[in-house]
Amino acid sequence: MSGRVLGPLAIALTGCAAVSSSFLLPDVIALATPPGRVADGSGQLDPAATVRLTARQHAALAEATHGAIEAATRAPADLRLQRRAAAMVRAMAADSEDKTAIGTLAVAPLLEHLVGAQPCPGLVDAAATWHALGEQARAGEAYLRASSECGSIEAAIAAVAPLRTVDRCDDAIAGLRAAWPRVRAGRKGAWIEVFDAVASCSDAVTLRRNLAFAPTEVVEDYVALRAARRQEELERDRERAAEQREEAERDRARQASWRCESECSAAVSSCSSSCTGEPSCSERCASVGHVCRSGCGGF
């Protein structure tokens, strides 16, 4: 066969193959693509299921609390059941923003019985429960009673937070003053907690006066301790501020370096475009760029 025949034949065959493949390519791709399927996994929860699970948690806690109060009422001599019921009320108060459900529970009779039957530790259970229910005055009073009747320094300290919220710091400090004689016999470091409680209910002017129930040298020690704490806090603040300043400085330097390098690159590009392909000119532009970048500072 001559070249005059083979040439057009090859062109025709090539064209035919090209047309055929352009027609068939999508088909081949479609056949080769794996069929879409749902990804493995156990799937997702329907929003209604999520709502139901959350609602059931609250409802179950309410039901369990109701049951605990009933059980405590039926067994008035069982101290653990009384204390458990009070703790369940606290759990419910922490769990639910809706206080109406708690309002339906017989909390007051439960706590009154608990305090009457076993003031120690019933009073602190009652105080913690009133505190959780937002009854701060009752909570503070119960803590103060616990402090005096049960000889508890911790109860006197715990009374400060609820009484402060109802502007009864004088009562709280009176409670701490009454508890002070027991501090020396109590655990190590308790005096600092008592003084901190007094300080949380005092200001700069009234602090020394409120601490007057303690020996002067102890008060001086505490004042020195507070000063040291304040100094430490200031030191920490200073360190934090210095770190922030350094970080900001690093950021600024980094941005300036990037801006400089970008300007050098633009200058090199402008220089190179004016060289019209002359190698020595391009080399000069590159070396100028190198010098320019070296002045940008490294980051």
């Binding site: 056949l31 799937g43 369990a64």
Partner: protein, 283 residues
């Protein structure tokens, strides 16, 4: 036959095994701290707190009666679940001790509800039992598969969730596996492939027919022939022309149809739980 079996076994081994839920075994606190007071023990020295015992006893009494009506079974389920739904430390501390009794009650609720035809209540009770007890639960897998088959046409996303949960409860459940495969895969893939292959074949046959038309025309132009033979060849040419043109027109129609079928058959959903499941939050 043996080779087929080996292939099937190999495929089964290659598939990811569904996870089997295990109950929570983390240590629960034994006491609750009280500010300025002694801690409270979270569980009694032995047995249960009276209210917990009363709830379990009430549920046992309901399922112990023959043919308990559905609302009562529902109540029994709620009574048992309080201990597992409430997050207070006292309930949590008594869960482990209550596990055998709870599992037995939930199993009875599930069986009675299933026998009475209430698939949803049965599934809820058995699902709770499975979450509490862990391990495999073929009975739950059966109920979930029944529910999934019922909902497969109208709610495939929910049916797929149920089928996969059934496989988690019992990985050997063949009906659940079949349903999972059916709902997970492209249901129009084979008609789609057939249409695309038909398009490829039509393209080849169409090209051949068009080439025959050219060959007949060249032959008539190159050789003198008698009139009747010319008529016969022209008729043949017209037939090839008709077939070739028709097939080449059909090619894009078949290809595009195949692709549309493949695309439209791809599942557009994810497995999604019904509102009633899971009965309890996963541990």
């Amino acid at each position: 036959m043996r080779r087929v079996f080996h292939l099937t076994a190999a495929c089964a081994l290659a598939l990811p095994a569904p996870a089997v839920a295990a109950p929570s075994r983390e240590a629960e606190p034994t006491s609750v701290e009280v500010t300025a007071g002694p801690p409270i023990s979270t569980a009694p020295a032995e047995g249960f707190d009276p209210d917990v015992a009363a709830r379990l006893a009430e549920a046992e009494a309901i399922v112990g009666a023959t043919h308990a009506p559905m609302p009562l079974l529902e109540r029994a389920l709620q009574r048992v679940l309080v201990l597992y739904e409430s997050r207070d430390p006292f309930s949590r501390a008594q869960r482990e001790r209550a596990r055998p009794r709870s599992v037995a009650i939930l199993g009875q609720i599930g069986t009675q509800a299933r026998d009475a035809g209430d698939t949803v209540l049965a599934a809820r009770a058995l699902d709770a039992r499975w979450t509490i007890a862990g391990g495999r639960d073929p009975q739950l897998a059966d109920v979930l598969t029944t529910w999934a088959e019922r909902d497969a046409a109208n709610a495939p996303a929910r049916a797929l969730y149920l089928a996969r949960r059934a496989r988690q409860a019992n990985p050997a459940h063949s009906d659940a596996a079949r349903l999972d495969a059916r709902l997970s895969s492209n249901r129009r893939i084979w008609p789609a492939r057939l249409a695309i292959v038909a398009g490829v074949v039509a393209f080849g046959v169409g090209l051949y027919a068009r080439s025959r038309v050219g060959a007949i025309e060249d032959d008539l132009a190159a050789h003198p022939r008698p009139g009747d033979e010319v008529d016969r060849l022209l008729t043949l040419r017209s037939r090839y022309d008709l077939i070739g043109t028709g097939l080449l027109i059909a090619v894009p129609v078949l290809s595009v149809s195949g692709m549309v079928l493949a695309f439209s058959g791809t599942p557009k959903y994810q497995p999604t739980s019904p509102a009633e499941l899971p009965t309890l939050e996963e541990p």
